[in-house]
């Protein structure tokens, strides 16, 4: 069987809603199930629903790879429910970890840093740049993921070793580090900007010592009010 353009579009569209009903108990379970069902023949729906009601969680952009491979397995009809579940349990954690590292920890913060620097200095270019470049990467993985998943089947997991993951992450780690230094360009040569040094040190220590995010925000709030009063 072929994936076909109309199925690709349906699966892609449904993948945008993966986390709509995210809950602590089942996480993306209903989103994943909906995504698979739009790509599979209607006669198989009842069987798939009863077999796949459990917990599912992966990176939202990476789900395409898993849905593509799962739809192919149901198209062929040769894989047992156990085999599908075994693939899903390995794939969801592997793609979650790769997606978190690539998008949440590297690509998104690096592009946001750049868009902040561009935005403060040149205005609208900053947010526009972020939306265009970030969604270029994001949509590429969403669409190509479905195609690769369907083409490679269970082997789609080996895509994690390709340059689209490893090289992109390495490049954006360097870009992010460079931009970390470039953030200093937001300041100006006034005496009060020296405050940035001790405050940065304070927040770095809080992050390294794993203070909760709420605690760090409350500290930032207090510092803001104290500087305001002084």
């Amino acid at each position: 069987m072929r994936l076909g353009l109309s199925r690709l579009i349906r699966i892609f569209f449904q993948s945008l809603f993966l986390q709509t009903s995210w809950s602590f108990m089942s996480m993306q379970s209903m989103g994943f199930l909906s995504g698979v069902l739009v790509g599979v023949d209607g006669a198989k729906h009842a069987g798939i629903i009863s077999a796949r009601k459990g917990l599912f969680n992966t990176h939202p952009y990476m789900v395409s790879y898993i849905v593509g491979a799962t739809v192919r397995a149901y198209d062929e009809g040769t894989a047992s429910a156990e085999e599908v579940n075994r693939f899903l349990s390995v794939a969801q954690t592997s793609f979650a970890s790769a997606g978190d590292l690539l998008f949440w920890r590297t690509l998104r913060p690096a592009l946001l840093l750049l868009s902040v620097i561009l935005g403060v200095r040149y205005g609208l270019i900053g947010p526009l740049f972020f939306l265009v470049v970030y969604n270029g990467f994001h949509l590429y993985h969403r669409i190509q993921g479905i195609r690769d998943g369907y083409k490679m089947g269970w082997d789609v997991i080996y895509v994690l070793k390709t340059k689209r993951f490893t090289l992109t992450r390495q490049v954006f780690e360097v870009v992010g580090t460079l931009l970390c230094g470039l953030l200093l360009s937001l300041g100006s040569p006034e005496l009060r900007y020296i405050l940035v040094i001790p405050l940065t040190a304070l927040f770095v220590i809080m992050l390294i010592r794993r203070y909760s995010a709420v605690m760090i925000i409350v500290s930032a709030l207090l510092v803001l009010l104290i500087i305001g009063m002084v």
Binding site: V120, C180, R192
Partner: protein
Amino acid sequence: MNVLLLSLLGAVIILDKYALGEFGISQPIVTGAIIGAIFGDIWFGIFLGAMVQLVFLGGLPIGRDIPPDGQAAGIITATSYFLLRGSNIMAHSLGVAAVLGLIGGVVGGFFDVIARRFNEKLHTHFLVHEEWLYVCHAAGLATAFLRGFVLFLPVFAFSSVFVIPGIFPQITKETLTIIGMSLGLANSFYLFVKMKTVVYLLIGGVCGLALAVL
């Protein structure tokens, strides 16, 4: 602009956080530009969004961890500032908007947890009535929308009528930049800097200082 419309707009934008698409439209730097454009001051909207973005740069939604809601903080800071500006001086408006935004980010995180707990009920309903899969799944959109609307409406209503007392600390653009830069540097340092990449940090730092002085 009408507080109700602004709350509705905020609730629609916040769907992008996880319920629909995740295109990055709800990131503070983008929402700052949108809200700034609505109020006719796109530059200041982008500035406010940029500062909130730096504060919340490190919040990573990994697994079951729900960090404070940076997206809600961005929407609240920018919208509150422009609403407060109608009847207050800039330094006071900036101070209250920043305070509301940071508190809003923390409260937004709690609201997020409540919304996701409510979604558990939707899943339980689906387990009993399998034919309701799409309805239960789509109902998550309403949960996410309501979460945003309930968070934004009281804050925006408050901002539109609040007259700030003179004793409230006055926050300048520079003060906000100092806090934003400090947290942005700390967050990005924590995320990116390793021994093998320190040289890029130094190159970036020298270029950054040169740009700041020029």
